[in-house]
Symmetry: C2
Subunit: 249 residues, 2 copies
């Protein structure tokens, strides 16, 4: 049974200001919640339909969260998914911890990626390609936005992120290669990537801003064979990560 | 001025049944409409705001379409975009023409790609990588769906498509390589692709169906380096096309 006050609290977490105030965020749907419960995130609350709870009791009782049996209508009312007949969790956010790439690994730098769907897709891609750190400009969408969490398909549990002023951050990374996605840069099909460093991806419409561009040590480009003017930033991130892994193999 | 009957007609084209009945489809927003007018599609009707028409008269008067000056509110009411202060066109659909890959080129085969956003993204990717033919199962989203057209960012003007029963189609393509995206196939980083053939991409949840799988001559896989279980079908299409072009270079 879902009380009015609890429903209101859960619903409020759709908004960044309440996520920050309460240090909590929403995770919706079976796959994402199961990955959450298997991760090191702390789960405060689990709302689940009775059939789903019965089928997954062993999984759902993994963490000492408060569990409430609710209806599908409740889940859809307090959450953001158009359809959800399984579950929804409220978990604790983590603090904004400084992340730096090791010399032998890669981290992605996201300069003003505004669209939550793109950011969630980028988390999933980073996770696929074994890149575990994202450095995000303050103008990049909030990773704890339910749309980001949902689009990441559970990858938010395996990727870490750090929001900061990117130019300030890069100023202190001297000697580390900083690749940036631009038109007219080095062809990623023939480039030999360094063993570690940063790859910067820019805003959906405007690309990488001037303040960050000055710290890019190597401009890189995905070669084009046809008529499209550009690729979506999620697509471009995937193709660059794939070429990076090929180059390091 | 937008009459009631014209508004109703334009609005009706959001639905497949009316697009088929009228042989017409919607193209929304400046970039897409300008690409439409520069293509070999026939434009029947152009709705444009006065400021946009003034600034782009030379472009917008390219084809002998009926032009109506309308308000932003009109565009948003009859179209599908949340915001549109520029223009919307109604164009003639093309007939479902049989397409076959030449021995020296690639065509994509889409088996049950349901999501219009994914299909639009795939059009844009195909166009970027110079792949100009899509063969689609009847269950794949309708390319003339406004969401597909919009997500393709104008690439619908440079890519052709053909809807048919895929198993029937592939039965007649003997001797032509048919690559299919599966888990556990040949690594696309090391595979040498033939100079031409087909690449099959499968449904968002279920992958390539059994009826089509039997015609796949080579299963291929994008290598994974981290924890994500899968990649979105648009992302996977881009990475495969990129590897294909690298291999053929």
């Amino acid at each position: 049974m879902l009380s009015k006050s609890l429903a209101k609290y859960v619903q409020s977490l759709q908004q960044k200001k309440f996520r920050q105030e309460h240090g909590a965020f929403l995770v919706e749907g079976a796959k994402s919640v199961i990955e959450l419960l298997e991760s090191d995130y702390q789960t405060d609350l689990l709302l689940t339909t009775e059939p789903f709870h019965k089928e997954n009791a062993r999984l759902l009782d993994k963490q000492p969260a408060r569990v409430e049996i609710v209806s599908t209508a409740d889940l859809e009312r307090v959450g953001t998914l158009a359809t959800n007949d399984t579950c929804l969790a409220v978990a604790r956010t983590k603090e904004n911890r400084i992340l730096v790439a090791d010399p032998a690994e890669y981290a992605l730098i996201l300069d003003d990626i505004r669209d939550p769907g793109n950011l969630g897709t980028i988390l999933r891609i980073a996770d696929w390609y074994g890149i575990r750190k994202l450095i995000c400009s303050p103008t990049t969408a909030d990773v704890y936005n339910p749309k980001v969490i949902s689009a990441s398909k559970g990858s938010f549990t395996r990727v870490q992120w750090y929001y900061c002023d990117l130019a300030e951050f890069l100023k202190n990374q001297s000697g580390v290669p900083v690749y940036g996605a631009f038109l007219g840069g080095a062809d990623v099909h023939t480039l030999s990537f360094a063993p570690g460093g940063y790859v910067v991806m820019g805003n959906e419409s405007n690309g990488i801003g001037a303040a960050v561009e000055q710290w890019v040590t190597r401009k890189i480009t995905i070669p084009r064979y046809g008529g499209a003017e550009s690729l979506n930033v999620g697509i471009a991130t995937a193709v660059i990560c794939d070429n990076l892994r090929r180059s390091l193999a």
